[in-house]
């Protein structure tokens, strides 16, 4: 929006799907939640937004599909500012998975997954085939689960349906907000591993929010570290482990303590 303001823009790196350009986000009352965020996400990579609760990572995620609008700077998706997109078209271009999954309790599994294709008025035989394909993809037997309702599923199964729903319209971008957060540790590890396999097969651009260091290291091709509304740095998992940046070091120190505990047993 503010053309000319700010430093000269580097021509968006080839393949940058999402770009934050000096983004600020403040609440109407004035509290600043994000300060001067500058960040790009390359095509096909998985960027993890890591930080503690309240660090601004979920806010950053919601700026991408315009559930929130920046109060300064701009967020670009496919080279176009989110504010220049039709919000509905933008969101249908981006899959969205949230922690509580937000499955519609009054829709069956099949109807939940079919939601976006139906909104896009795809032909019904195509939609049905697509739903079965997706359920199989996330490891749920279509014959058994199509007609169930969300309350009849376990947490892990709900999460899988949430992922299937987000993938239904085959969006090139996938946003995930603490996607495995509500699961017990064992199920969480299971679903996460399945997701890793899925990740390689789908080749989508993915942004994941988490506060779990090991999750960030396992899933991310890069890790963006948030602290108190600021971006502290972007690291590859290897760089992150070696980083001397105090906040990153605090995360790795916590991991090492866990390792030390393991060795101590």
């Amino acid at each position: 929006m503010s053309a000319g303001a700010g430093p000269p823009r580097e021509s968006g790196a080839a393949g940058a799907v999402i770009a934050f350009r000096r983004v600020h986000y403040a609440l109407p009352k004035g509290q600043l939640l994000l300060r001067d965020i500058h960040l790009t996400v390359e095509r096909g990579e998985t960027l993890v937004l890591l930080g503690r609760s309240g660090a601004g990572k979920t806010t950053a995620l919601k700026l991408i599909n315009r559930l929130l609008e920046p109060t300064g700077g701009e967020v670009q998706v496919e080279g176009r500012a989110t504010l220049a997109w039709d919000p509905i078209a933008l969101r249908r271009h981006i899959g969205y998975v949230i922690q509580e999954t937000g499955l519609f309790p009054h829709y069956s599994v099949a109807d939940n997954v079919a939601l976006v294709p139906r909104l896009e008025r795809k032909a019904e035989p195509y939609v049905r085939a697509r739903v079965e394909e997706l359920l199989a993809l996330v490891g749920l037997d279509p014959a058994r689960y199509l007609d169930r309702y969300p309350h009849e599923l376990s947490g892990g199964q709900r999460q899988r349906v949430g992922v299937a729903r987000a993938l239904a319209a085959d969006p090139p971008i996938l946003l995930m907000d603490e996607p495995f957060g509500a699961l017990d540790p064992l199920t969480r590890a299971e679903v996460r591993e399945e997701f890793q396999a899925l990740q390689q097969r789908l080749a989508k651009t993915i942004v994941i929010v988490t506060h779990d260091t090991s999750e960030a290291l396992l899933l991310g091709t890069r890790i963006a570290l948030f602290e108190a509304g600021e971006l502290r740095g972007v690291y590859s998992p290897r760089e992150f482990l070696a980083s001397s940046e105090p906040v990153a070091a605090a995360y790795t120190a916590q991991l090492r303590r866990l390792e030390g505990f393991e060795r101590g047993i």
Binding site: L67, L90, R92, G102, F104, P105, H106, H151
Partner: protein, 211 residues
């Protein structure tokens, strides 16, 4: 002559009064739903409107029914026909529970569900009609049920302005100090209320979203 004999001798007459009664209540409820549900949605969307709208409906609720019929009598178009007047007054009474329950139903939709709907790229209209209203349907219906039972009772007073219905018997019975006549109006009205309550509660249970 006791009530049972009265029922045996005048079945057609009582049936007609019952049909009149149902008609008054039915039309009033249709109007109340048509007005109350959109108002309830508005209250849920714009919380600052909740005070004036719910307050207004609350005031209508507190006016004694006989007085409300009296107040509406001089209103130009309404006052011309007794039935019109009665229906308007009944609809006013039915409004509060319907507005309140619609607003409560919509505001109680899980925020995660609403956010997922937005994030999936549903338009505000699609979110309302495909998510919020279906999920609050049973709560809305509970309001309609309360309003219907209330209105069936109050509709007996419509006879005071000559709108007919089962109240005719009650007023006649009062004037003639004839308990059988009073009961000839009161019993069918009570049965109507019970029946409506039962049927609507069945519908409500059937529509309750699984959690």
């Amino acid at each position: 002559m006791n009530v049972i004999q009265y029922f045996e001798r005048h079945p057609g007459e009582i049936l007609q009064a019952t049909v009149e009664h149902i008609w008054l209540v039915g039309i009033a409820m249709l109007i109340a739903v048509a007005v109350g549900v959109p108002l309830g949605i508005l209250v849920a969307r714009r919380p600052w409107l909740s005070k004036p709208i719910l307050g207004g409906a609350n005031i209508a609720e507190t006016i004694p029914s006989l007085a409300l019929f009296g107040f509406l009598l001089p209103v130009p178009w309404l006052g011309e026909r007794a039935a019109r007047l009665a229906i308007a007054a009944l609809a006013l009474y039915a409004l509060l529970p319907i507005i309140r329950n619609t607003a409560a139903g919509i505001t109680s939709v899980d925020p995660a569900v609403r956010e997922a709907a937005r994030g999936m790229g549903m338009t505000p209209g699609q979110i309302l009609f495909k998510v919020e209203l279906p999920l609050s349907l049973s709560t809305v219906l509970a309001g309609v049920r309360v309003a219907t039972v209330l209105t069936i009772g109050i509709a007996t007073i419509a006879a005071a302005v000559g709108a007919g219905g089962l109240g005719e018997y009650i007023f006649r019975g009062l004037a003639m100090v004839n308990n059988s006549l009073i009961l000839a109006g009161a019993i069918p009205a009570a049965l109507l209320a019970l029946g409506a309550d039962f049927l609507l509660s069945l519908l409500e249970r059937w529509l309750r979203p699984a959690r």
